[in-house]
Each structure stands twice: as structure tokens, then as C-alpha cells.
């Protein structure tokens, strides 16, 4: 079946400056986008382990070494087996495997092999690590390595009930020891529990109130910021505690605790996020209401952003459902920009909406970009807008798979930079089988796409820089073509220049 995709690709590919080329990377998985960071969830990390200038892919169980000068050919090397659960991470040119008995650090040897060195936990550290490993998601490669003291050697960051612990692998003693610890001074909150019955006796339960230990953790250079959400009468507020880490004598790190702050109160749906690469925090929330000023209620999506106090710095309302991503650094200036989308299907009076739902095959959709200003503010009116026509094949009333994808905001992705110019481009699934790429230029978006390519119909798609060449690539998934139960066909397409 893969070959049929390739044939279709060859038949329909156009001679533009770019094209998408299928490559054989069966293990790669791209997940959803974090709505507040614009980052794609992946099951791999990039690291140039063999130092050939082309990034290699590190997975949970293996490494794919780039081969043939970045021509998307890879040699596979298995990672060593360890007790489970385990986390795999990369830092610089090393692979780190954190498992219940210790840490394995691997570095490159000749002929695409890795040599691993074992590090044992110092007393007391193992308990924290084991508690941490039981609570984290281990299906992906994780980011548990930081270098807050900026000495070039990573620290393993582990969270337990009372503190954030920074561990260091000592190459001389081959021991993993604690380098610093940040106490979680922000107290955990009681979580409301479901009411239970007290009668009859045999169904009576004693309900223990549970504690919410979830924190928002932000790391930027030597600064660590913790946010703890608290319920208040008017919604929620966040208690913020910042820490500055510095390298100290005897291989330890010193921790300077900042002045605690409180942000809010905000509506319930507001969450903290990093607004810029300098670590400034913003509090962003989105809500969806079905408002009815006409006989048909229409969805209205609202985004609110706060800087710290209860007065919003921007509030944007649009007709439509939730967009694909809220915060993306569209022009790569280190400041997160706000993305809003508008479903023109729901605009107008009841007659026009009903006619569109019943008869319109090509839906109009608008993407708005609100750039972040130098002072961290946003304009309510977008700086750039682009209207796209999406051919659903059949009217929305027939509830096609394409329309369901449209409702789930799966047809438009704004997080990929396909042209490699440092600006995120907009990739739109404009029909059942076609993807169209609109580059985001300084003056906005062009009227015609820079690349349009046909694929086997029925796909969903995700975007990330898989081959690490600085340009985003595609992963297509065909759930309907699955032969084996629960399976799905996936194919990675890398972005290449068309000119020879």
C-alpha cells in the first residue's frame, strides 16, 4: 500500500520550490500539539551522536543513526535493556537512561554503536527516583535533563512529594548524587471528592480527601519557576515561587529563593504559560459558549490572556470551535504569538447558516495571527489574517470524516516551518486528498500556496522536523487503511527542495 502512496505522490507532485518525499521511518510517531507552547509531542529526540552534522533520532528503545549524508537513510542501534519503568533522554551528544537501579550514560563509538557507562544511586536518592518513575509517562522520550547551573553537564530533574531534586552523574565515582534540592513550599490543595452514601451500612464508604500535588514547572536558563493552582471564591489564583540556581563549590548547586507572588484571581479555565524565551509568564484561558442571538446557537470561542493581575491584557472572541493551537512563536522572535481561528460557516443569520450546513461543500476558514509586541502586549485585532477554502466533499449536514476533522481542528497546522526561513507556515488540508502550504512571510500570506500535493485520501497529518534539517516534515496517518486490528498506516514525508 505504501507503494501506491508513492505512485500517487509521483503522479501529482508539482514542480514548485519544495516537495514532500516519502522516507522509511517506521518507528516515528507524532502526537498532538501542546496548545500553550506550540510544541509537538513526539516519541523521539534529536541528537547528533555520531557528529556527522546530521541529527540522529533517539527513541525509547533504539537509536537511528543518520547515514549517507542526511539522505534520510538510517542505521538502527538498540539501546540496552534495563529494569522498567525507565526514561530515555538526550543531552548534547549523550544518551541518558534513568531506571530504578541507576543511570546509563551512552556515548558514540565507531560504526554507529553506543558505549554505555553505569552509574549507581547514592543512598537516599533511589527512593525519590523510584517514586518519580512510577508517576511519569514512559511511552515517550522525556525531557528530564536540564543544566540549570550552565556548566555543560546535565542534571537529572526528579520530583517527589516534597521537593524537586537535581541529581548529577559523577564520572569519577560512577555515582548519582544529589546536587541540589528545591522544597515544594507551596502546600498541596485538598481536592473535592465525590459525595458517598452512608446508607445502607454495607455500602457505606469512608472517603479520604486527596491532595493535589500538581504544579506547573517552568525552567529557563538558571531560573526555575513553580506555579501552584488554588481555588478561590472568584475562580482560581496561582501562587508563584521562583528559584535561581548557581554553581557552588564542592560540585553542588546553591538555590536562591525569590519572593513568592500571587497571580489572579482568574476564571477557572486559565493556565500559566511562558510568554517569551526570557521566561515571562502569562496566564491564558479559552472557553467555548454556544450563544443564541438567532434561532440556531452558534459556537463562540474566547481566548483571554492575563499578565498577573485580574485585568486581561487581551480578550479575543471568534465564531467557531477551538483552534489547533493557541500560542505559537510564529516569527521565531522568542515571543509567543496568539493564534485564533474563525469558522465562517457559523457567521450570518439562521438562513445563511442553514443553507451552508445543508448545501455548502467548500467551507471558508480564517486563521488570525496576533503578534506579541515588545512590551508583551497583544492587539485584539489580528496583525495577519488568511482565509482558506476547505473542500469537504459533501455538505456539513452529512457529517463526513473530513467535517469531523474540521471540527476537531485537525485540518490546519500552524506550527511547522517548511521553508526554513524561521517563520512558521500554515499547512492546510484543503480537500480529502490534498495538502496546501502557505508560507508566512513578512508581509503575510501569499494568495496561492507555495506547495500543493496529493496523497491517498482519508489521512490525518502531523507536523514536526523529523530529520532535523531545520525544516518541518510531515507524518500522514491512514486509520481507515488498517488491516490489522487497532493498527494504522503511517508514512513520514520529508521536505525537500524540488530543484536539482
Amino acid at each position: 500500500m505504501i507503494s501506491s502512496y508513492i505512485v500517487i505522490f509521483l503522479l501529482f507532485s508539482q514542480l514548485g520550490p519544495l516537495h514532500w518525499e516519502p522516507v522509511d521511518l517506521p518507528g516515528v510517531r507524532l502526537g498532538g500539539v501542546d496548545r500553550l507552547t506550540g510544541k509537538v509531542k513526539t516519541n523521539y529526540r534529536h541528537a547528533d551522536l555520531n557528529q556527522d552534522g546530521h541529527p540522529d533520532l533517539v527513541f525509547q528503545d533504539c537509536v537511528l543513526f543518520s547515514n549517507n549524508g542526511g539522505e534520510a537513510k538510517y542505521d538502527r542501534a538498540e539501546l540496552p535493556a534495563t529494569p522498567l519503568p525507565r526514561l530515555v533522554g538526550v543531552f548534547s551528544e549523550n544518551v541518558y537512561i534513568l531506571h530504578p537501579n541507576g543511570v546509563l550514560v551512552g556515548n558514540y563509538q565507531e560504526q554507529n554503536t553506543l558505549t554505555f557507562h553505569a552509574y549507581q544511586f547514592d543512598g537516599g536518592v533511589q527512593t525519590s527516583v523510584n517514586a518519580f518513575l512510577k508517576g511519569v509517562e514512559i511511552s515517550q522520550v522525556n525531557d528530564f535533563l536540564l543544566d540549570p547551573d550552565e556548566d555543560g553537564d546535565p542534571e537529572i530533574v526528579v520530583l517527589d512529594e516534597s521537593s524537586i531534586v537535581f541529581l548529577h552523574c559523577n564520572p569519577e565515582s560512577h555515582a548519582v548524587s544529589q546536587k541540589a534540592s528545591i522544597p515544594l513550599d507551596l502546600p498541596p490543595q485538598l481536592v473535592a471528592t465525590e459525595p458517598g452514601t452512608i446508607w445502607p451500612d454495607n455500602e457505606r464508604k469512608i472517603i479520604f480527601p486527596t491532595l493535589d500535588y500538581s504544579y506547573n514547572f517552568f525552567a529557563q536558563g538558571t531560573k526555575i519557576v513553580l506555579c501552584k493552582r488554588e481555588k478561590v471564591n472568584a475562580g482560581v489564583q496561582y501562587r508563584i515561587q521562583s528559584f535561581e540556581l548557581e554553581k557552588a563549590e564542592s560540585g553542588k548547586m546553591s538555590v536562591k529563593t525569590g519572593v513568592p507572588q500571587t497571580a489572579g484571581p482568574f476564571p477557572d479555565f486559565v493556565q500559566p504559560c511562558q510568554k517569551s524565551s526570557e521566561g515571562n509568564l502569562a496566564f491564558v484561558g479559552e472557553s467555548l459558549v454556544w450563544r443564541s442571538l438567532s434561532p440556531i446557537p452558534v459556537p463562540i470561542h474566547e481566548v483571554i490572556m492575563y499578565s498577573g493581575d485580574a485585568t486581561p491584557i487581551v480578550r479575543v472572541r471568534n465564531t467557531g470551535l477551538a483552534p489547533h493551537s493557541l500560542m505559537v512563536d510564529m516569527n521565531h522572535d522568542g515571543r509567543m504569538d496568539l493564534i485564533t481561528e474563525r469558522m465562517l460557516l457559523f457567521e450570518g443569520d439562521v438562513k445563511e447558516i442553514a443553507l451552508r450546513v445543508a448545501t455548502q461543500r467548500v467551507l471558508e476558514h480564517r486563521v488570525n495571527i496576533h503578534l506579541q509586541r515588545d512590551d508583551g502586549s497583544f492587539d485584539r485585532l489580528p496583525d495577519f489574517s488568511k482565509d482558506f477554502s476547505v473542500n469537504m466533499g459533501v455538505p456539513p449536514i452529512q457529517d463526513s470524516e473530513m467535517f469531523r476533522q474540521y471540527q476537531r481542528a485537525e485540518l490546519i497546522k500552524v506550527t511547522g516551518d517548511f521553508t526554513g526561513d524561521g517563520r512558521c507556515d500554515v499547512l492546510v488540508k484543503t480537500s480529502e486528498s490534498r495538502l496546501s502550504l502557505y508560507p508566512f512571510e513578512k508581509s503575510g500570506f501569499p494568495n496561492v500556496p507555495v506547495l500543493e500535493q496529493e496523497f491517498e485520501p482519508g489521512f490525518t497529518f502531523a507536523v514536526d522536523d523529523v530529520d532535523g534539517d531545520g525544516r518541518s516534515d510531515l507524518m500522514l496517518c491512514w486509520p481507515a487503511l488498517s488491516d490489522e486490528p487497532g493498527g494504522e498506516k503511517t508514512q513520514v514525508f520529508v521536505t525537500r527542495d524540488s530543484s536539482p
Binding site: 450563544r291 442571538l293 438567532s294 463562540i300 474566547e302 483571554i304 485585568t311 486581561p312 480578550r315 479575543v316 472572541r317 471568534n318 465564531t319 457567521e347 450570518g348 443569520d349 439562521v350 438562513k351 445563511e352 443553507l355 451552508r356 448545501t359 455548502q360 461543500r361 467548500v362 485584539r380 485585532l381 455538505p395
Partner: protein, 262 residues
């Protein structure tokens, strides 16, 4: 020519003012507008009552007035064909096209009168019984009252275009179809057919039937706290409505001038 059209318009207006239909349709518009008070209560409570204006405008301007205008326009000439009065009208020193233009002007005047009635009914109620304090969300003023009133005023001006197109379209059909019932039926039926086909044929931007609600879109969106823009829709609205007026006017003139009147 213009003076003859003006005289014919005044005579036709006097004739129209004697018809019960226009008073009944005026009452319908008032009733429809006030009936929306049942859905959107209007109170002096420091919060804006634009919801009432939005609902009253949607009901009257998007539905009732275009429908009444089409019925009125479709009846203008077809009724005179049926009764045989047209032959006697044209005995006067008046060209056929001048008489046609006077009929179209009367239809447009009728539509504008209904619109004025609907606007008055919508705004007088909230000026007397409600509040006009701008659009607020979370204590933040998104649109001031002046902006909302300006949106509505611009909407009223723009609304004249689709209304004129609808009037010309209906009078054109009344020159083609001589039976009153058939003229009204075909005017409404063709409107529905145009509307039903415009999206599948991707002609929605070029059909004047798409623009009866467009003039109010910015006002309605602003009342819901949503930013909305006149451009580029206004260009399509002006273009398609003027094109429709020209096409139907030319076709009606051509047909009416050469028609054998029994």
C-alpha cells in the same frame, strides 16, 4: 424624463396609499419587532439591551421586509395586467419605461418605509425602556455605544442595496408573469431556488440574495463581542446588488417596452 417619472411616482404612491396591504404589512413589521421582546427582555439595569435590537433586526430585516418587498413588487404590474388597468395607464403621455421606473421607485419606497418602521420599533423600545451602554465582557468595554450605533447606521445604508435589488427583481418578474398569483409564487420560488443553488455552485458571493443579512453582520458580531469587518464583503455586496439592479432593470425595460399589452 425625470420629471415625468417623478409625477408618475407620486400618482402611483397615492394609489398605493389607498391599498390595505401596505398598512397590514407595516403592522406585521411592528408586531414582529415587538414580539421579540418575549425572548429578549428590555430593562433599565445598566446593561446593554442590544440583544433585543439584534433579534428584532434579524426577524424583520432578514426575513419579513425582503419577503414583503418581493410580494409587493411582484404584484405591481401583474395586478394591472390581470385587471386590464395597465392599458389605460399607458394612454397617458408617459413612456412605458418611465412608468416601469416609477413602479420600481414605489416598490423601493415601500421597502424603505418598512425598514424605517422596523428601525424605529427596535431602537425606540431600548431608548425608552432599556440601556445603551456599549458591549462589555468581563468588565472590559469591547465596543462603545457610539460604535454600535455607527455599525447599525452603516448597516441601514448598505441594506438599501439588496433591498433595491430585490425590488427590481420582483418588478421584473411582474413584467414577465401576468397572473398575480403566479408572479408572487414565481418571485418567491425563484428566490428560494437561487438561495439553494448558490453554495453548491459557489456563486454565493455574486448572488444578491446573499446580502439581505450582510449589512447587519458587523453590528450583530460586535454585539456579541466579536470583531468583524466590512471588507471585503462590502465590495461584493455593492457589486452584486448593483449588477442585479442593472440586469433586472434592463431586462424589465426591454420586455415591458416590446410587450403586447392586452
Amino acid at each position: 424624463m425625470i420629471s415625468r417619472i417623478w409625477i408618475a411616482f407620486r400618482i402611483e404612491l397615492k394609489k398605493v396609499l389607498k391599498q390595505r396591504f401596505i398598512y397590514i404589512s407595516g403592522a406585521f413589521v411592528l408586531l414582529a419587532s415587538l414580539s421579540t421582546l418575549g425572548i429578549s427582555a428590555v430593562h433599565k439595569d445598566q446593561s446593554s439591551d442590544y440583544d433585543y435590537v439584534v433579534r428584532a433586526t434579524s426577524l424583520t430585516m432578514n426575513w419579513l421586509i425582503p419577503l414583503m418587498t418581493i410580494i409587493f413588487g411582484a404584484l405591481t404590474l401583474s395586478a394591472e395586467y390581470t385587471s386590464g388597468a395597465l392599458r389605460f395607464m399607458l394612454v397617458r403621455p408617459l413612456r412605458r419605461v418611465e412608468y416601469l421606473y416609477a413602479k420600481i421607485l414605489v416598490t423601493v419606497f415601500y421597502a424603505v418605509t418598512l425598514t424605517t418602521l422596523a428601525v424605529t420599533a427596535a431602537w425606540v423600545v431600548i431608548v425608552l425602556k432599556g440601556d445603551l451602554a456599549g458591549v462589555y465582557y468581563g468588565g472590559e468595554v469591547l465596543f462603545t455605544n457610539m460604535e454600535i450605533v455607527r455599525d447599525y447606521a452603516l448597516g441601514c445604508l448598505t441594506y438599501l442595496l439588496p433591498l433595491s435589488a430585490a425590488a427590481t427583481y420582483a418588478v421584473f418578474l411582474s413584467t414577465v408573469v401576468r397572473n398575480t398569483g403566479t408572479a408572487v409564487g414565481s418571485a418567491i420560488g425563484l428566490w428560494v431556488v437561487f438561495d439553494a443553488l448558490k453554495y453548491p455552485l459557489r456563486l454565493e458571493q455574486f448572488m444578491f440574495t446573499s446580502y439581505t443579512e450582510f449589512p447587519w453582520r458587523v453590528f450583530v458580531q460586535h454585539c456579541q463581542g466579536i470583531d468583524s469587518y466590512w471588507r471585503p464583503g462590502i465590495f461584493y455586496c455593492v457589486g452584486s446588488c448593483l449588477a442585479a439592479v442593472l440586469v433586472f432593470l434592463s431586462a424589465a425595460s426591454l420586455i415591458f417596452r416590446r410587450q403586447d399589452i392586452p
